[in-house]
Amino acid sequence: MTTAVAERQYQGKVHEHSRRLMSDWMAALGRAEAEGVPTGAIMISGNCVELLRACHVLPMFPEVTALQNAIRHKSLPLILKAEQAGYSSDNCAYVKADIGLFLDGGMGPGKPMPFPTITVCNYVGCNVYVKWFEHLADISGSKLFMLDVPFARTAGEATQGDIQYVVGQLKELITLCEGITGKKFDIDELREILGHAARAEEGYSRAKHLCKNHPAPFDAYFDSINMMGPINVLRGTREAAEFFDVAIAEFEGLVAQKLGPLSEERFRTVVEGPPPYPYYKNFRNLFAKWGAVAVQSTYSTVGGIWEWGFRHDPRRPLESIAEQMLRENLTNRSITARYQQIKRYVEEWEADALVIHSIKSCRLFSAGQGDMRDYFTRELGVPTLLVESDLEDPRYYSEAQLKNRIDAFFEALEHKKLTAAGAAGRRGAGASPSEATR
């Protein structure tokens, strides 16, 4: 490496704005029990948060609680509590941190995190969701509604049959919520909420597309987290829509000034897989020092894939919610459909390499990523790095090992760039960097 790469603290404003909005939401959750506001637990992937909002049920996201505890280095004691209660060291640690929170006295009546009034399992891809919410309903005694969303298993669009099947269940959920809140559901209110959602989706999509610029104005893996709260949790609120107005203005300003998250963008990567929340900053630094910026990521699309143009449609409220749950998110698509998503990212966002962060907890993402590496290195010739750790359990994060692999990979990539200088084609000759780091 020649000159050292420094991180610009440009993301301060977006970050702060996101944090404020998320804190307000958490505070509302903390007050919900005292104020008699019904709450509904729901999952991030392909969620129907707009519907809960329209039903006046305050959404709560156990995944967000789990990741926040990991970022604050509080996840390990919670995981251990769950393991003492019988959960296996091989089970998804998100679930263990959530159940551990209950066992530790941090969730339930009179606690900072209330029990959900209703547990809505949007079964969108991840089978662990089904187990997690069975367990959550068991400890909280709340009503469990299993919203079965058929996996995207036919080519092309979602079938009418699948859409109607999901819409039927959404209607049932509405009736259930009416029973809980005592309030009549108003479809026009849902339309208005979906209007806000579509605006936020447009904003998020625009932000992602801005990363096609050289340099990208933000890191589409590490910085996307600031937008994932507003897009996945707060979607459907006016505040979330406005958040993106502000964020886009800022990102466009950065593009105009040719500024990115680092002092220099040396490598453009696409990152696959969730981040290691317990060591977020450390992990980021391992890439930053090489001037590696993620210009796209798959994790940022778990809640929804907006950059290909899908928007919730207030004119077809329930149908468009169903379509989004069925097709327009990463988790309900096959792993090989994800290969195609990544391929498009590599090509259209002009990336130099693919980084696969393989998560022990999350088989949905990770089971078979060796095959993914094979596809990208052997069939497409995209330099690919595969590293392993965990998104919640700090015991699986080995900094020295990760550093060795990441350094070796970028060294090889740098060498390849130098030797290929002048030669045509960004992906030229084979898979040597990946091979070097296997």
Binding site: D148, R153, Y165, S358, A367, D371, D374, E388
Partner: protein
Amino acid sequence: MTPDRVLDHCRELVNQPLGAVAERWKALHLGGRAVASYPVWAPAEIIHAAGMLPLALLGGGTSVELTHADARFQSFVCSIAKSSLELGFQDIVKGIDGFVFSNICDVARNLGSIWKRNFPDAFVEYLHLPQNSTSPGVPVYAANEFRRLAAAFEPAFGLKVSEAALTHSIETYNALRARIRALYAFRIAEPQKLSTVDLYVVLRALTLTPPEAAIGWLDELLTGLPRRDARPRDRLRVVVEGAFCEQPPLGLLEVFEEAGCYVVEDDFLLGWRWFTDDVATDGDPFDRLGAAYVNQSVPSSVRHEARQHRAEGLIEKVRRAKAQAVIFTPAKFCEPALFDYVLMKQGLERAGIPHMIVEFEEKMWTFERTRNEIETFVESMLFE
């Protein structure tokens, strides 16, 4: 055939490579096709109704060395997913024309797509089996999913599933399942006359046999086994729960008995005895299968059942089999089994039913520690 002859036949069958079984059947059925389903359940009736041989893709056990598949699936993924894929890479499933996967877990789902990518010439179908068990639209959805599977056979193999053929296949599989239920009931009554290993081998063999033939030798077993001469011993009656997907090594099954247990219920090869009673035989057959999936499925870790707590099905099994304890046997890294273990064990504890846990892997070959653990458990129960 005497029971011993039937058992010898079954043992011989289960030692054969899956592809060879398919090839042999196809040699006798010109133009025939074979379709194998990954655990836990797929509607074999539909495959059968298309005139094909339904088989089970159950991994490689101890029979294959991983040379390719461990580069595709990480170390923290269960063994059956890897060894099944390896069977593909090593051509051991050559002769099988199609594979059916379903949404039992995240690993199996990804395996289905990776199978398709690596073996593009094979027919691969993925079924989304509903996890919602109570909404009014679910039976219709399930029926349509089964229709979709049937329809996919036409472009792939030029084979149609007629209503009449499916009705006939449902009747055939009803007859097969009734006999398996009878065999299980027999074991509950006289476990000394049918060992766990033998029962497992029988089940395994019938995943490799056309149902008509299997019905024949199950009848012979049901007639012959009661005549066996065996005295009941003082053993602990246990239910074994958790090995519903990755297959337990035979050595492990032997250890249960050697260590002092009668296994009187289990969830081995659940997919071949999936319905608690006969699927109805009148009306549209796809609708009947859809309704049966929703209302007559056995309790299973891979299906959410809103009408029953996770532990209830297991507790019922314990009571029905007059068992004294439960041995949990999750496969290593098997998320559905490992998650359910917690709710199930809590339920057992509330009901005062003792339990222990033994994790296994299909490729496990030493059982000394397991034997000691089970022996200690049995002793604590029998002599307390």
